[in-house]
């Protein structure tokens, strides 16, 4: 039942003026830089190398003087190398197993756990949550920040928490129904699976959910529509990452028009992933975060490799914190074609707007006579198929034109027969780069 209404957990902070936010950020940034310079050897060394002293950082405009932090730093200085607090003051470790071997961890002081809980509390309020709600947490509990993060936030707002953890779908649905859960927290793909199962079982009218906060993986508007229809809820996007402390760094309100970044706890920047230069509001680039309240493991200019853009306009809901768009891609899969940065996600969004095009495509990069070429292979679908050759060619040209106008480069579009593009069960590999860039 879609009955969620807009609520603001901490209006004093969440609706403060842009000037006041800036003031707060300036002050907290100075304090954090002083802290890491004094307590974290890596940061002190890097700042010294750049000739930057803590006193040089006066406002957020000085951020660009500071070195970046990369995910590899968390591995290289594993486990405690980036901690700014003594272990006796660290009350929690969270982490991610890391798909590439070595794990990464984040340490929390009591203050950090408290701040994290409030960030998630704000997200749950923004999704219409409160003390009358029964929140089913179907994120995994453990080192992964999803389960405990949602749990703490729901506890903070005084809701009743059902700590289901992930998996065991039958049981999830049974408890959801019997206990009358009103909110759900899990990954959007698991929520979709739950929704499909609810539908299959014919239980759609028997579930009391009104909304949910879904995150920990990128998803699309189409997925939201589908999820909202399946469970008859408001499906909200929540963003976070272990390195910055977990979910709740940013969250959507019921306007569903971007995620509010908790700017009293972090500073967000967008940079050009190639030149590393900061980009103005509204431009798409790599999202970079600086912690300004953490005392356990504050990270400076942490490169998320996530691509999005920022919007500083106040939201219709009343909140004033900057909003981030959905994550549209990763810098890791960025291609540089004839000097232009191209993201597979940009091409995908163009393709999805052409009638009949399915999300099965492949991008093939090559170099012919010292010029980069990009071939976009798209599977022909029944909807695109016409009885005339010119009709099919028109669709091909339409795709070509649209890519040119969005991405800014000419590509070759090849329509391939149905079911000829490889299907992926896990993370899809959509780019084949045949350029021989050896030296």
């Amino acid at each position: 039942m879609k009955t969620a209404v807009n609520k603001i957990y901490n209006p004093e902070i969440e609706c403060m003026s842009r000037e006041a936010i800036r003031e707060m950020q300036n002050e907290r940034l100075q304090k954090t830089i002083r802290l890491v310079y004094d307590k974290v050897e890596v940061y002190r060394k890097r700042m010294d190398e750049k000739g930057v002293k803590p006193e040089d950082i006066k406002t957020i405009d000085d951020l660009h003087l500071l070195p970046f932090t990369e995910k590899t730093d968390l591995r290289d200085y594993f486990p405690y190398g980036l901690f700014a607090a003594d272990l006796k003051d660290i009350v929690r470790i969270q982490g991610s197993s890391g798909t590439t071997g070595k794990p990464i961890v984040s340490g929390y002081t009591e203050n950090d756990v408290e701040a994290w809980s409030e960030m998630v509390a704000r997200a749950l309020y923004a999704a219409g949550g409160g003390e009358d709600d029964i929140v089913q947490v179907a994120y995994g509990y453990g080192l992964f920040t999803g389960g405990l993060g949602a749990h703490q936030g729901a506890t903070k707002i005084g809701a009743t928490v059902i700590p289901m953890s992930s998996g065991n779908t039958e049981r999830q649905i049974m408890m959801m129904q019997e206990l009358g859960a009103t909110m759900l927290c899990c990954t959007p793909s698991y929520a979709t699976y739950l929704g499909e199962t609810v539908k299959e079982k014919g239980l759609q009218g028997k579930i009391k959910l009104k909304s949910g906060c879904f995150g920990a993986e990128p998803w699309t508007e189409e997925m939201r529509q589908n999820l909202e229809n399946l469970l008859d809820i408001d499906a909200m996007n929540i963003y976070g990452l272990t390195e910055m402390g977990g979910p709740g760094i940013a969250f959507e309100c019921l306007e569903k028009d971007g995620m509010h970044i908790n700017e009293d706890h972090v500073i967000a920047e967008i940079i050009d992933p190639v030149t590393d230069e900061p980009l103005p509001y509204g431009e798409y680039g790599e999202l970079v975060f600086t912690s300004i309240t953490k005392t356990g493991m504050p990270l400076i200019r942490y490169r998320t490799h996530d691509i999005c853009c920022l919007n500083p306009e106040p939201c219709a809901c009343g909140r004033t914190h900057v909003r981030m768009s959905r994550i549209t891609g990763r810098t890791d899969d960025m291609m540089v074609i004839r000097g232009v940065n191209v993201f597979p996600s940009q091409i995908e969004s163009v393709l999805m707007r052409v009638k009949g095009v399915t999300p099965n495509y492949m991008l093939i990069v090559d170099r012919v006579n010292s010029t980069d070429t990009l071939e976009v292979q798209v599977e022909l679908s029944e909807e695109m198929f016409t009885d005339t050759v010119s009709g099919i060619e028109r669709i091909r040209d339409e795709i070509k034109e649209n890519i040119k106008s969005v991405v800014g480069i000419s590509v070759k579009v090849q329509l391939v027969p149905p079911k000829t593009i490889q299907r992926f069960e896990g993370k899809a590999k959509r780019v084949i780069d045949n350029r021989k860039l050896g030296f």
């Binding site: 022909l380 029944e382 198929f385 005339t388 050759v389 090849q414 329509l415 027969p417 079911k419």
Partner: protein, 145 residues
Amino acid sequence: MYVKQISVYLENVRGTLREMTKTLAQNGVDMLALSIADTANFGIVRLVVREEQIPLTIECMRSAGFMVRMDEVICVQVPNKPAGLDSVLEVVDNAGLSVEYIYSFTISLENGALLIIRTNDNDKAYEALNKGKIKVYNQNEINSL
């Protein structure tokens, strides 16, 4: 007023066309007209069958993995003599229409050949052909061939 045409998408790979004809043969589909458009990457086979065989044709093509669609096209009778086709195209041309493709039936009638004409505007073409006193066949007439 129109005739139903089934189009099949074929990958430009050896054996695909045979795969299609084999499927049609196994299902006893009787083709009344057939044309193949070929490009470097793919081909489009268009065919006309009697109405009663349309569901069967579409179904067997789909279950064999082919992409299929159905369109309405115009079927005309063309005098079986020099300038026969030209007299038809003159009418189409004078109506300001352009032709996408033409192909003929495998059966010839006593008073002329049967052609499928696909222009950029079915309704206008139908109207022009009628005015030009060109005999246009409908699906019922095709069914009894």
